[in-house]
């Protein structure tokens, strides 16, 4: 934590931490405490009068079936994104770990979507899945399927999951590949000598040994889907049709900036903060220690 040898106390360390602390105070801690404070207030739409209402905003939220709908949608969305992108990435990483020639080329060709902004990924999928012009709905028509995510909530959900998962494949692939490469070759050789085929070796040795990586990625992907997919949803569906793709972060935004329900939006912010704190705790406490085989 601290070096055994260090500099004499002076005013210098305060000056050194000052920029970071000022930015943190002004743009992080102050707004967060404001959100906490506002979540106890009821303000009329014109901002003329406010009233301290204790936990009313929270109670209202928890009694609102729409909010619980958003909650369960968010969880479904996050885990679908995590599962889909991790499954594809793991499959590709196992293959890339097998090939001797060209694995560097494959890696380069697979990691670049990391650099694509979520909203740009959204725009790309918006174009491909566009009901009137998009290439995929056109092809689906030949199969007798009419794709229109602007009307069908399930299709809209599938679409945002595809777009969000597509962008995350790169990240998962890199970490799975690193995890695979750190598994001692001697273990796998021993299993091969004992007569275990590639499939069996994967499920009994490689996959269990990857579990720390898998768990780490699960947490990271869920956090990603919770908080960083705003752009994907804003570009593709704006939460629609009929709120079917409205996740928690999107609801905070639309209630606060579009609906101008400040207290409700702040209460939602506070709940989100609690979720982030919980996830951060899980990440730090359990990720590296508990999941060992």
């Amino acid at each position: 934590m601290l070096k055994r040898v260090h500099f004499k106390p002076s005013v210098l360390p305060y000056l050194l931490v000052a920029p970071q602390i000022i930015v943190t105070l002004v743009f992080f801690i102050w707004p967060a405490s404001q959100a906490l404070y506002q979540s106890f207030l009821l303000e009329d739409a014109f901002g003329l009068s406010t009233q301290f209402v204790w936990f009313d905003n929270f109670i209202e939220l928890f009694e609102d079936p729409l909010y619980w709908g958003t909650f369960s949608k968010t969880i479904f969305f996050s885990f679908s994104v995590a599962f889909l992108s991790m499954a594809i990435a793991l499959c590709l990483a196992v293959m890339a770990d097998r090939v001797v020639k060209g694995s560097g080329v494959y890696r380069t060709l697979l990691i670049w979507p990391y650099a694509v902004a979520p909203v740009v990924a959204g725009a790309l999928f918006f174009f491909i899945f566009n009901p009137t012009l998009g290439i995929l709905p056109y092809l689906l028509k030949f199969l007798g399927y009419n794709w229109n995510h602007k009307l069908n909530g399930n299709e809209a959900m599938a679409l945002v999951i595809f777009a969000a998962a597509w962008k995350q494949i790169a990240y998962n692939f890199l970490f799975f590949l690193a995890g695979l490469q750190s598994i001692p070759k001697s273990l796998i050789e021993a299993a091969a000598i004992d007569g275990a085929g590639p499939g069996r070796r994967f499920w009994t040795i490689i996959f269990p040994l990857l579990s720390p990586t898998t768990f780490f990625l699960l947490v990271i992907n869920v956090v990603y889907a919770f908080f960083e997919t705003f752009g994907v949803i804003d570009a593709l569906t704006q939460g629609g049709p009929a709120n079917s793709t409205q996740i928690l972060v999107y609801k905070v935004y639309s209630d606060g900036f579009v609906g101008l329900d400040l207290g409700g939006s702040a209460a939602q912010s506070v709940i989100l903060m609690a979720i982030v704190i919980g996830l951060t705790f899980v990440q730090f406490r359990f990720v590296e220690k508990k999941v060992e085989y």
């Binding site: 934590m1 601290l2 070096k3 040898v5 260090h6 500099f7 002076s10 210098l12 305060y14 050194l16 931490v17 930015v23 105070l25 002004v26 743009f27 992080f28 707004p31 967060a32 959100a35 594809i88 590709l92 293959m95 090939v99 001797v100 494959y106 380069t108 670049w112 990391y114 650099a115 902004a117 979520p118 909203v119 740009v120 725009a123 790309l124 999928f125 174009f127 012009l133 998009g134 597509w166 494949i169 990240y171 890199l174 970490f175 050789e189 091969a192 590639p198 960083e228 705003f230 752009g231 804003d234 570009a235 905070v252 935004y253 900036f257 939006s265 702040a266 903060m273 982030v276 951060t280």
Partner: protein, 282 residues
């Protein structure tokens, strides 16, 4: 390779090539769209092979824009995005280096308090405190400015932690030696710590550049003046305004322009990128 199974080898390559195609498909479609003219982009099925209007569309996208984008070219938005990405990356690195240096090399009252305060920022992503942060920035008169675009995003717990980790691995003997040679703290920082963490700084820079370039929600909220738009938010506006008949060839050209700089950074600085990614996510 443990055993030689030609079939599996071929299968691996087939699956990998399939994966590469799956990942690249959206970009191919966008690229093709960006090489055709408006007429062709309204006829089903859409082309799957590039046409000959690439340069023409590039010119329109950069200098004229579409009516969906209020007739604005995106050249200056690329410039805004570049400024934002660079300032965020530099700013985060500088303030994190300084605070990590203070926390590792000095013993002073409230040291741990400051450390935890920085740690807390990890738990407050912009998405969860949108409205109050917007109010703070509005009260400070920083809407529609480069300050407003960058400063609120500059505090970084991950970067501070990473530098702290790096500094802890630097042997104590170096500090002792430089003290004997008469170097003060700032001299030590400048001549020993910074050169020794050069590759970490570069790796972090790559990650932060991408982070800054791809910011969406924040610029969307605080820029109402067109001169301050970044290219990433412009794409959304084009999609929105062009609901009835989007000029897909220009929209897709803009999309390509918006992803080009970060993708180039990832592809050409791959080693640093991978290093940065694995180091910051701990």
């Amino acid at each position: 390779m443990i055993e030689n199974r030609p079939f599996l080898k071929v299968l691996s390559h087939v699956i990998l090539i399939f994966g590469v195609l799956l990942v690249a498909f959206p970009i191919w479609v966008a690229f093709v769209a960006a090489t055709h003219d408006a007429g062709r982009m309204n006829i089903l099925p859409l082309p799957m092979w590039p046409g000959g209007h690439f340069l023409e569309n590039l010119d329109v996208a950069l200098n004229q824009g579409v009516w969906g984008g209020d007739g604005q070219g995106v050249a200056f938005m690329l410039f805004n995005s570049m400024i934002m990405a660079l300032v965020i990356a530099f700013g985060k690195i500088v303030i994190s280096l300084l605070s990590a240096f203070a926390i590792v090399y000095f013993r002073f009252p409230f040291r741990m308090f400051f450390f935890w305060m920085i740690f807390v920022t990890l738990m407050l992503p912009v998405e969860v405190r949108i409205l109050p942060t917007f109010e703070v920035v509005a009260n400070l008169g920083m809407l529609n400015s480069y300050w407003g675009l960058t400063v609120p995003l500059i505090a970084s717990a991950t970067a501070t932690f990473m530098f702290r980790q790096v500094f802890l691995t630097i042997p104590d003997e170096l500090l002792e030696a430089s003290r004997i040679d008469g170097a003060g703290p700032l001299r030590f920082f400048k001549d020993i710590l910074i050169p020794m963490s050069q590759t970490n700084i570069a790796a972090l820079f790559v990650i932060l550049f991408i982070y800054g370039w791809n910011q969406y929600l924040w610029p969307l909220l605080i820029t109402t003046d067109q001169d301050m738009y970044t290219i990433v938010i412009q794409i959304k506006r084009m999609l929105e305004a062009g609901e009835e008949a989007p000029q897909w060839h220009i929209v897709m050209m803009t999309t390509l322009l918006a992803m080009l700089p970060p993708v180039v950074v990832v592809v050409f600085m791959q080693k640093l990128f991978v290093k940065g990614l694995t180091e910051t996510e701990k």
